[in-house]
């Protein structure tokens, strides 16, 4: 049974208001016992694998993007059986309402939500503002780890095609809109990784030709919440030049920051066809004979790619 959707003015302007919840709404739901009785499952997903252990929202379970969602042999996400086991072990059933939150303005939470969506999980929502906003508001944290009753989760094979782009898809997509959500320095090719982040070894710096540069954080306000619909439209329809009905691909370095943008385009602005290219720059910047563009200009579609 889906849990009731939050109604408020900010969310109502979005294309899919049912995809967001506010910290106040979540606190009230916890207060009402909805998390304790399993009506609502709260999941924390952080960059730092130990952050949940330092204190989390009461009743929240932890899912780690790397150890839980990535396959440890193939560079891919876990398969249907592993996802079913993970979900069930966290108290998640196929019809559960899941609210995900995390650190860094929800990068990893959005990424986890995107992976849940690969498996077609219907009702999965993001906590607007994430962990930082919850803490900034002085809301309760606990170190107590919940022991949820096992969920009932079927083995569902991933359906990647609607929301995930592979390198070949991106090559075929050239000429249609691309959003590069990395920092300006990564976009121009001045550097191949985030400022002050690990060097993940891309051999070329730059961007995919024609991609518009809209760093992910511009979709977020100071408090980590998503910007209003009007502000997002100014950014993506105005500055990036997207038009209603466009088929869009977003990418970053490994696909986590672009999940944040994917969420904004898909659910807040309502683009039907938005895919996240999770291979992102760590793949593109190392791939043989793919075209790249350097500098601040978007560049043009190269002719006869790979022929």
């Amino acid at each position: 049974m889906p849990y009731p959707v939050e109604q408020n003015e900010k969310f109502a302007a979005y294309a899919h208001p049912e995809r967001l919840v506010s910290t106040g709404w979540l606190a009230a739901a916890i207060e009402s016992g909805a998390v304790a009785n399993g009506e609502l499952v709260v999941v924390e997903s952080d960059e730092d694998v130990l952050l949940y252990e330092t204190g989390h929202i009461p009743g929240a379970v932890k899912i780690d993007w790397h150890t839980d969602l990535n396959d440890d042999v193939t560079r891919d996400y876990v398969d249907g059986a592993a996802f079913a086991e993970l979900a069930a072990s966290k108290g998640i059933s196929r019809d559960s309402t899941v609210v995900i939150y995390g650190d860094k303005s929800n990068w990893w939470a959005a990424y986890a939500l995107w992976v849940f969506t690969l498996f077609g999980h219907q009702d999965v929502r993001l906590l607007d503002g994430g962990r930082d906003k919850w803490i900034a508001e002085g809301r309760e944290l606990t170190r107590e780890k919940p022991a949820p009753a096992r969920g009932d989760y079927p083995v569902v094979e991933r359906n990647d095609a609607p929301i995930r782009a592979f390198k070949e898809d991106v090559l075929a997509h050239l000429g249609k809109p691309l959003i590069d959500v990395r920092s300006p320095e990564e976009y121009t090719g001045q550097r191949t990784h985030m400022p002050a982040y690990p060097e993940e070894g891309a051999l070329r710096g730059g961007h995919i030709p024609t991609a518009a540069s809209i760093p992910w954080a511009r979709a977020a306000a100071e408090d980590g919440t998503y910007r209003s619909r009007a502000e997002l439209e100014a950014l993506y329809l105005g500055e990036a030049g997207l038009a209603e009905g466009d088929d869009v691909v977003a990418y970053c370095r490994i696909g986590e920051r672009s999940s944040h943008t994917w969420f904004a385009l898909k659910y807040l602005l309502g683009f039907d066809s938005v895919r996240n290219y999770d291979g992102s720059w760590t793949e593109w910047g190392n791939a043989v004979r793919v075209p790249i563009a350097k500098g601040a200009e978007r560049g043009s579609v190269p002719v006869a790619v790979g022929s």
Binding site: V49, L50, L51, E53, T54, T67
Partner: protein, 152 residues
């Protein structure tokens, strides 16, 4: 590589980690993150005296000082700064602090570069995150070598 090659404090830490199950190791790492000492005021007020280890996933700054009794045998003091929101990075720093602080340059330089792998955390933490700790150890050794004139 065995713990016999390690300075005794570091060897004891490695033994503790190795004796544990994986979830317990994570818990121990969390305890190290909480035990990481605060910077002394003279460094707190001078962030430019610390160097960032960019290979770490979260901001981690460190510096070393050699105690002033002269010569390469002087005790090396280690100082780290990492935000509370980065417990894994703080945990690594805590292990290196407890294991190496106060040793001589020679003792620190003798620690094998791949010592972090002995903690048995690679699977639970992932190789990506372990790289940060290896980079931290590497930076400490480079700074100690440069300060002491001992070749690593």
């Amino acid at each position: 590589m065995t713990t016999q090659a390690l300075p005794s404090a570091l060897a004891a830490i490695v033994d503790d980690f190795q004796a544990m199950s994986e979830p317990e190791r994570l818990q121990l790492l969390l305890e190290f993150s909480e035990g990481l000492p605060e910077l002394p005021d003279r460094l707190k007020d001078h962030p430019e005296l610390l160097e960032q280890v960019v290979e770490c996933q979260s901001p981690l700054f460190l510096t070393i000082e050699t105690e002033n009794d002269g010569g390469p045998a002087g005790a090396v003091r280690l100082f780290f700064k990492a935000p509370a929101e980065a417990p894994t990075t703080r945990g690594f720093a805590g292990v290196l602090h407890e294991g190496l602080d106060g040793l001589s340059a020679e003792e620190i330089l003798s620690v094998p570069d791949d010592m972090p792998e002995l903690l048995g955390l690679t699977r639970a933490i992932t190789p990506l995150r372990m790289r940060g700790m290896t980079a931290m150890l590497g930076r400490i050794k480079r700074k100690v070598a440069a300060a002491s004139g001992v070749r690593s």
